[in-house]
């Protein structure tokens, strides 16, 4: 069954500039979908439209439920966790408090503690930094913290916006290995926006290429990765 379904979604900034012009997109339960495209193609805007951070129209359905008119926090509570570009760390709070914010809406205390442990096993670097102010963490640690905070809400859908942005190659590998393991461990679907197409296609089953606020091509990741014309046209060779 499809978990997230976008039909003819358009979106604009509050100043009126339109960024999406009718996006159709389906995300299957438990799969990884890579969202690719050049700068300004609408990748980030698509994620922000899903989370209700842009003015949007058309139809967005999550788990069969219409979410087009819901607020950001309501959408999050339905089970969509969004790690925004730039990580959105709560910089003045401790790393542990950041994780607690992620689980603030949950009532299943024992499961929360178990999930905290799972997050720390996923990102062992965070364990020593729990008491540190999040703003003092390195870029890589903040990215791990942001993903862990999202996981602490036990989402069914995880939206990741350029998790490799600004990270050293070694750290990027570490982060992506963790992301690749998420699907099985946490039983969730992932939509990942990534500049590095090879990295994204390597872990995705489905891939969507956006161009000027519309879907240019959609298909299996393997098909897109193997298609030289697609690579030439959209993925920078």
């Amino acid at each position: 069954m499809s978990l997230l379904e976008l039909r003819g979604v358009h979106a604009s900034y509050s100043d009126g500039g339109q960024v999406l012009h009718g996006v159709d997109l389906t995300v299957q339960e438990g799969g990884v979908t890579a969202l690719l495209g050049a700068n300004g193609a609408g990748k980030t805007s698509t994620l922000r439209a899903v989370s209700g951070m842009l003015r949007r129209g058309g139809s967005l359905r999550f788990d069969g439920r219409e979410i087009t008119s819901l607020r950001t926090d309501e959408i999050a509570r339905l089970g969509i966790a969004h790690v925004p570009q730039g990580r959105g760390t709560l910089t003045g709070l401790s790393a542990l408090d950041n994780l607690r914010v992620g689980s603030a809406r949950r009532r299943d205390r024992r499961e929360v503690e178990r999930d905290l442990e799972r997050c720390l096993n996923l990102f062992p670097r965070l364990r020593q930094r729990l008491g540190s102010t999040a703003g003092n963490l390195s870029g890589g640690e903040q990215q791990m913290l942001a993903i862990a905070r999202a996981l602490m809400s036990r989402p069914r859908l995880l939206l990741l916006d350029e998790p490799s942005l600004g990270l050293a190659p070694k750290i990027t590998v570490e982060v992506f290995e963790a992301i690749a393991g998420l699907r099985a461990e946490w039983s969730l679907a992932i939509v990942i926006v990534e500049q590095n197409a090879d990295l994204a296609l390597g872990m995705a089953q489905q891939a969507v290429v956006l161009e000027s606020g519309r879907v240019a091509i959609a298909g299996t990741a393997a098909a897109l990765a193997g298609n030289d014309d697609v690579r030439q046209a959209y993925l920078g060779g």
Partner: protein, 292 residues
């Protein structure tokens, strides 16, 4: 012994400044707004408390009721006034809150008149002598109430989910919403709590200086100085600074001839200028880092 007496008097005054300064910090942390009408909102509700006591309600009950009623007043102020100006230039919001201050001042005057009214104290009118220092029960009471408020706030902020959510929203609204926190409701709650604190401050100082529509103007100056000195986002800093200001103005007033009682109000401002020259973010404040 004279100096010790001044310290005691100063701590008592400082604890009232601290209550209002805490309200200013609460609002500033949550919404980035310095609410110049914070004291005047407290005045309005202190008059409500006065009306209740005039109708025979015990003063403690009247003050608690006024604090409880302040909560929806603060909530409504955020919801229907401040939120409209979200994202606007800071100066616009300053003008809005100053306008609210003047408006409320006029409303209070229109309802209750401009003649000062005596306000009953929460504490018995007794003096305790401790080795040459005369301490009134009221002075001790003010300090105890303030310390209880600070302890209560610390518990709420550091030990409860609600407090964690308030801190999260103050830190980053967008990320808080993405984590499922009902940002708007939390902002309203922050304003509601601040309004209750402002009312407490007004009810604590009213017995000393009498109820008057403009009674909180001077207190606001002290509390603003304390909030700025302590760093506008630090509750502990605001309280420490308020107590320091209370003591400093009393000592300066008593021992520096040229200051006396008339120029006392200049003391916190002088302190503020000196500190801000060296530390623009305040003593306990965090330097705001703007990342591009």
């Amino acid at each position: 012994m004279g100096a010790l007496q001044q310290v005691v008097d100063g701590l008592s005054a400082g604890s009232i400044y601290a209550a209002l300064a805490l309200a200013l910090v609460l609002v500033h942390r949550a919404t980035g707004v310095v609410n110049f009408a914070q004291g005047e909102m407290g005045v309005l509700m202190a008059y409500v408390a006065w009306s209740l006591t005039s109708a025979g309600v015990p003063v403690l009950v009247a003050v608690l009721a006024a604090m409880a009623l302040s909560f929806p007043l603060g909530v409504a102020t955020e919801r229907f006034l401040i939120r409209r100006f979200h994202g606007q230039d800071g100066l616009v919001i300053v003008v809005v809150t100053v306008g609210l201050l003047i408006l409320l001042n006029g409303i209070v005057g229109a309802i209750w008149g401009y003649v000062s009214k005596p306000f009953p104290s929460l504490f018995p009118n007794e003096v305790i002598r401790l080795g040459g220092v005369a301490v009134t029960v009221e002075q001790i009471g003010n300090l105890v109430v303030l310390l209880a408020v600070v302890a209560g706030l610390q518990i709420i902020f550091l030990r409860t989910r609600f407090g964690l959510s308030l801190r999260a929203v103050a830190d980053n609204r967008e990320s808080s919403a993405l984590s499922g926190l009902a940002v708007n409701r939390l902002l309203m709650a922050g304003w509601g709590m601040a309004a209750a604190l402002g009312t407490l401050a007004a009810c604590l100082i009213a017995p000393k200086i009498f109820l008057d529509p403009s009674m909180m103007n001077a207190v606001l100056v002290y509390s603003l100085a304390a909030a700025v000195l302590g760093g506008l986002d630090s509750p502990v800093g605001a309280v420490v600074a308020a107590l320091v200001i209370g003591v400093a103005e009393n000592i300066a007033g008593a021992y520096i001839d040229i200051i006396g009682t008339d120029l006392k109000i200049a003391v916190p401002l002088l302190l503020m200028v000196v500190v801000l020259l060296g530390r623009p973010q305040g003593i306990f404040g965090r330097r705001e880092v703007v990342r591009v």
